[in-house]
């Protein structure tokens, strides 16, 4: 443990500390102290209170949306009542105007809820990018310090591409295309003269392909690279250990402990940093995911409630709730790639030692 403390004191975690100090809930929390708790096993999670916290967060978001739901229901009901008088009292074009106005009112309410949620989605991906740029250098350093020099050099371009290219793909292409799908849903439901269903389907398939390909290809590449590089490092280290152990009878294994202590110390700290980064990741994505899930639930519930009284409005709300899935998928995809990269960086030491 003393060796590990010495190694931990040498590790530069100042940038990570500065990042955590920006958040009110982490102010005053020392990263090195938390890592020591993880290393010594004193760090524990109260799963019951965590689950209760998540549930209360979900209900909080749903309760914020309840007034919006009531307004949508009221507007749709009013529009439906006025439209039933179309044939007897109102001219058909007046009925169209009433429909447009009600549709735009519902659209304004929904889109105002949507904008803050979508901004949260963008912010979440940017937060994950920042965490990757802070934590990956630390993990690669610890990997090099635990004997995985080849692994570190092989992983370096992969993690650089993840933290910049993949994140940029989602923030610059996938999410804007998902916003376009939402806008096309809004426009397409407005009038029969605006036929945009095929265009919307095209962008939906573009989104699905981009998410699927980035997830599949990057995960495959990372897994193959991780296994082969760790094997190389493992062979070179085992060769050194064999030379040590076989040349000195009886005490060979005992005498090789000095360097191994240094390597094992770095590997143990790497595991602790990996665990810490995963806790940070979960803390980053829980709230926005609850936001998206509650909004999706709200839209589906509104679509179900207005189905019998406001046909096109219900169809718009239903399409909108499906479009939100692309944002949820985008956030989960980036989080999964982040997670799998941390996992590869942490688990590669298991092959070496």
């Amino acid at each position: 443990m003393e060796q590990i403390d010495l190694l931990l004191n040498e590790l530069d975690l100042s940038e990570l500390q500065n990042y955590l100090d920006e958040f009110a809930q982490f102010k005053g929390v020392s990263v090195k102290e938390k890592l020591k708790e993880v290393l010594s096993g004193d760090f524990s999670i109260n799963y019951k209170s965590l689950f209760d916290g998540i549930l209360s967060l979900f209900w909080e978001e749903v309760s914020v949306l309840l007034p919006a739901f009531a307004m949508i229901l009221a507007i749709t009901l009013l529009c439906s009542v006025i439209n039933t008088a179309k044939s007897d009292i109102l001219h058909s074009s007046m009925s169209d105007i009433i429909y447009y106005i009600s549709y735009l009112c519902v659209g304004a309410i929904v889109l105002s809820c949507l904008i803050s949620v979508l901004n949260a989605g963008f912010d979440t991906v940017q937060q994950m990018k920042m965490q990757m740029q802070l934590l990956y250098p630390v993990l690669l350093t610890l990997m090099a310090g635990s004997g995985g020099v080849v692994s570190a050099s092989i992983f370096r371009p992969a993690v650089a591409f993840l933290s910049s290219g993949i994140v940029e793909l989602f923030t610059s292409v996938v999410f804007p295309v998902a916003i376009l799908i939402i806008v096309l849903s809004f426009v397409g439901s407005l009038s029969d003269s605006f036929r945009l269903k095929k265009l919307s389907e095209l962008f939906q398939s573009v989104c699905k392909w981009l998410i699927g390909l980035s997830l599949g290809l990057f995960s495959f590449y990372l897994t193959v690279q991780g296994i082969t590089s760790a094997q190389y490092d493992g062979i070179s280290l085992r060769a050194a250990k064999y030379a040590v152990s076989s040349s000195v009878p009886i005490v060979g294994g005992f005498l090789s402990g000095g360097i191994e202590l240094v390597l094992a110390g770095s590997a143990i700290i790497k595991n602790a940093v990996g665990s810490f980064s995963l806790f940070l990741l979960v803390g980053t994505i829980v709230k926005p995911l609850m936001l998206f899930v509650s909004l999706q639930l709200f839209l589906r519930f509104s679509a179900a409630a207005t189905e019998s009284i406001g046909g096109r409005v219900s169809a718009f709300l239903s399409r909108l709730s499906s479009s939100l899935s692309y944002f949820i998928a985008g956030i989960l995809c980036v989080a999964f790639l982040y997670f799998i990269t941390v996992l590869m960086l942490v688990c590669s030491s298991g092959v070496i030692l």
Binding site: L7, L180, V244, I259
Partner: protein
Amino acid sequence: MKEYVLSVAGIVLLCATLGILLPSGKMGKAINGFLKVACLSVLVAPFARLEFGEGTEWLGDDILTDASYVAACEQFAEDAVEEEVVALINGEYSLAVTALADCEEDSPFSVKSIQISVPDLGIFEDGQHIDIVNEMTRLIEERYLCEVTVYGVGEKNSNR
């Protein structure tokens, strides 16, 4: 993004309103078609910025490791090897020595070279020092697979 959504909502509202007010003849159809093109151009306008290279960074900076930490690990490894060598020689030959190890930076810190100073030959006589040095050198070379240099042999004995 807010500006984009508001601009789309505005153009759609304008097109819908004009669509109601337009006459139903050929002129109305032409204007309707023009309005649809205008609506579509507003919809895809943000993607033109990607086409003309505005604001996207696909390849970020290289991720750099903390060289000072790796240097500290190398130092710890060297200290550990020096302690091991001193303990090994003391155990095998009952000699008090000092060792200076030099480890690799870019590997599992394998040993590049070891320098051993033997100031006092202890119970061994002066004539035996060559055999002792050769045995010691061979032992450490086999153990660490590196270059071993023994110096300052018996300096304390010769100074008496």
